[in-house]
């Protein structure tokens, strides 16, 4: 399956790209495992955006522009877009 990862704000600064597509063998995956795959690929992301094996508490994940999964407990399927962004939306 293919999952599009979109980076916003600080994650984009660290990774250096706006988005990329990941291919996985499974038909569906835990969001947490997708995040781990991102961290494995991008050392800067691992260093600056992760706290242990989870996103740091100031970042969050959104699936397809609809629901947030801060605890990374959700399922991503083929064709989904996973947005990684700041929790803080203060303007």
């Amino acid at each position: 399956m293919k999952i599009k990862i979109e980076y916003y704000g600080i994650p984009r600064q660290r990774v250096g790209i706006a988005s990329e597509v990941y291919e996985f063998d499974q038909e569906e995956m835990e969001i947490h495992d997708v995040i781990l795959a991102v961290a494995r690929k991008h050392p800067e992301f691992q260093r600056n955006c992760m706290a242990g094996d989870r996103l740091n508490q100031h970042l969050t994940v959104n699936l397809n522009g609809t629901r947030f999964y801060q605890t990374e407990n959700g399922t991503a399927r083929d064709g989904d877009a996973l947005l990684i962004l700041s929790m803080d939306a203060g303007g």
């Binding site: 984009r12 600056n48 740091n56 969050t60 962004l85 929790m87 803080d88 939306a89 203060g90 303007g91």
Partner: protein
């Protein structure tokens, strides 16, 4: 732990100064510890003083009206972001309470005059500078400053008065009584609700403050330790976004989530948003970063732009970009930055400026306003409209009153799509796509506002479905509003909020170290509630009715064009408002339980 006894005064001067600028007379009034423990300072203290002076009775632009500059117990302490002040008055835009905040050295110098707040009433005979030097008050002529923008006014005053003074000033918009004119200090603005017009109506072009009366701290060692710890945390990931990209980082996120208000709130995304992102601007423009006094975050991002063919600079925030860009359907980076610069030049709130112009653009499109030049997407029209507002000329006279007044003038039920609540234009958070925030907007005491309610935080969490609100979210909206009320009264910058593990307990700890009090987290929550209640009480006395706690009709009857799942109907909003009122301990309609507070 030692606790200060009543006779020990730490953190506060325990007094405020009342100045009648009609006569130039000044009088000192005591502030009691029990009042300060409830109202803290800043917004809370300012609102309390307005209640004491029955400010709800008076037209906000009349000579009887009061305006308060309120400092706080933390001002002057080593705690990061604490150099802030609140300006509180009845708003000429909404007729309700208005508290707007700004930062930096005016707060430090203002508190060193020896007072916790300055309350100004009356009207000077001619344009004047109000000078407060260690509590000694004089009025000096300001005719030579009339018509000058805020930045130049401050420059001239600094030359004339010297570096020891700090200044709060108004631009031409404040002099012309534009209902959303700002009060400026060092490039920052007490921006919303028209406090600049209130000062302008008093013929006060500038306030100059100087003093050497510092307050002591109860536990200096403990305070320094806590300040170090807080500063350390302020360098971390919680504030990274603000340091590296600024609030403008919201542009692309909001666009993706369809909550970037576009074309007068008809859409939630803008096809050219990328062009207005800080990422795109950083690639093509010189930029510098700046901090307010006593701040370790440094969120201010200043971009280079040409103005009248000369190199200049402008500060950029998400709200400037949204209101002067997508809301008016303008994607040209330079046009938007120059529009923001123009707002600073005149001393205009960018949100109300952009909101009112975008509304007028739609009225033109629908044939209700005969100004064919004023079209969505026209940068030339945007700049022309800002000039007309700032100079109060032709159409600018109507635009200067805000979108609600313009809608009343035009009729044809244009009020249904005027982007305002209680007369205050909505900030850049599309309520149909962020429905806890929709509730925050509807019930906000100063109108639609993202600084008094942080309910968008709830929408950006996994606890709710942001496009399908449930009444249980009302409690979460109350909690964010309480946090904001405390932050605005202590005062600390909201960009710090992510660093606290136990927010109210840490607020209590900071306040106790400064004052020697022994407050706990629960008492801080009660104080925050008391501040919100006092603001509500002020509004009730000034004529508030439950019908004001709503959103523009179009937002309750029409889905977002580009996200048809983002629907908020009247029934849902009314249920949310009712749940909010009950959660606050008010009656279902929103009146306070004490029947004496009914009008």
């Amino acid at each position: 732990m030692r606790v200060a006894n009543v006779s020990e005064a730490h953190g506060y001067h325990y007094r405020y100064l009342e100045i009648d600028v009609t006569s130039g007379a000044a009088s000192c009034h005591p502030l009691q510890a029990d009042v300060l423990q409830q109202m803290i300072g800043g917004s809370g203290l300012g609102t309390h003083l307005l209640m004491e002076h029955e400010a709800w009775k008076h037209d906000p632009l009349s000579s009887q009206a009061s305006i308060v500059f309120a400092f706080s117990p933390l001002v002057g302490s080593p705690l990061t972001t604490s150099a802030k002040f609140a300006v509180v008055s009845r708003s000429p835009l909404t007729g309700r309470i208005n508290d707007s905040l700004a930062s930096s050295r005016f707060a430090l110098a203002g508190k060193r005059t020896g007072y916790d707040a300055l309350l100004i009433t009356g009207r000077a005979e001619s344009p004047s500078i109000l000078v407060i030097d260690n509590g000694h008050v004089t009025l000096q002529p300001a005719d030579h400053l009339c018509g000058l923008p805020a930045e130049q006014t401050e420059q001239q005053l600094r030359t004339a008065f010297g570096q020891e003074y700090s200044f709060a000033v108004i631009g031409p918009a404040g002099e012309h009584l534009v209902r959303y004119a700002t009060i400026s200090h060092s490039g920052r603005h007490a921006g919303r609700g028209g406090s600049g017009a209130v000062l302008g109506s008093k013929n006060i072009k500038a306030i100059a403050v100087r003093g050497d009366q510092r307050t002591s701290w109860f536990d200096t060692q403990g305070l320094v330790q806590q300040a170090r710890n807080l500063s350390q945390r302020s360098f971390g990931p919680a504030t990274e976004k603000y340091r590296e990209l600024g609030t403008a980082a919201n542009v692309l996120v909001f666009n993706r989530l369809h909550c970037l208000p576009t074309r007068n709130f008809q859409k939630g995304s803008f096809e050219n948003a990328e062009n207005l992102s800080p990422e795109a601007m950083n690639a093509v423009r010189d930029k510098m970063r700046e901090s307010c006094a006593a701040c370790t975050i440094g969120c201010t991002h200043i971009y280079s732009i040409p103005v009248d063919g000369k190199p200049s600079q402008t500060r950029i925030e998400y709200e400037n970009l949204f209101a002067l860009g997508p809301l008016c359907e303008i994607s040209d980076q330079q046009i938007v930055l120059q529009a923001s610069h123009l707002c600073d030049h005149y001393g205009l709130d960018t949100i109300s400026t952009g909101g009112t112009i975008a509304f007028a653009m739609e009225c033109v499109e629908q044939g209700y306003l005969q100004e064919p030049w004023l079209r969505f997407g026209s940068g030339e029209a945007l700049h022309k409209a800002i000039h007309l507002i700032g100079q109060q000329k032709s159409l600018g006279i109507s635009l200067a009153k805000g979108s609600r007044a313009l809608a009343m003038e035009l009729g044809h039920n244009t009020i249904s799509f005027a982007p305002q609540v209680k007369g205050l234009e909505l900030p850049g958070y599309e309520p149909r796509a962020l429905q806890t925030m929709a509730l925050g907007f509807a019930v906000g005491t100063r109108g639609a506002d993202h600084n008094r309610s942080g309910a968008y935080e709830v929408d950006f969490s996994e606890h709710v479905d942001r496009r399908h609100a449930k009444v249980s979210q009302a409690r979460l909206a109350v909690e964010t509003e309480n946090k904001a009320a405390m932050m605005d009264s202590l005062i600390l910058c909201k960009f710090l909020r992510g660093v606290f593990d136990d927010y109210f307990a840490e607020c209590a700890s900071m306040l106790n170290l400064v004052t020697g009090w022994n407050l706990n987290a629960e008492q801080m929550v009660r104080a925050a509630e008391a501040i919100v209640n006092t603001k509500k009480h002020f509004n009730i006395l000034s004529g508030w009715t439950p019908a004001e706690d709503t959103l523009p009709e179009r937002m309750l009857t029409t889905a977002l064009e580009d996200d048809t799942d983002a629907v908020l109907n009247r029934q849902t909003l009314e249920a949310l408002v009712k749940a909010y009122n009950l959660e606050r301990g008010w009656d279902e309609a929103g009146f306070l339980p004490d029947s004496s507070t009914r009008p």
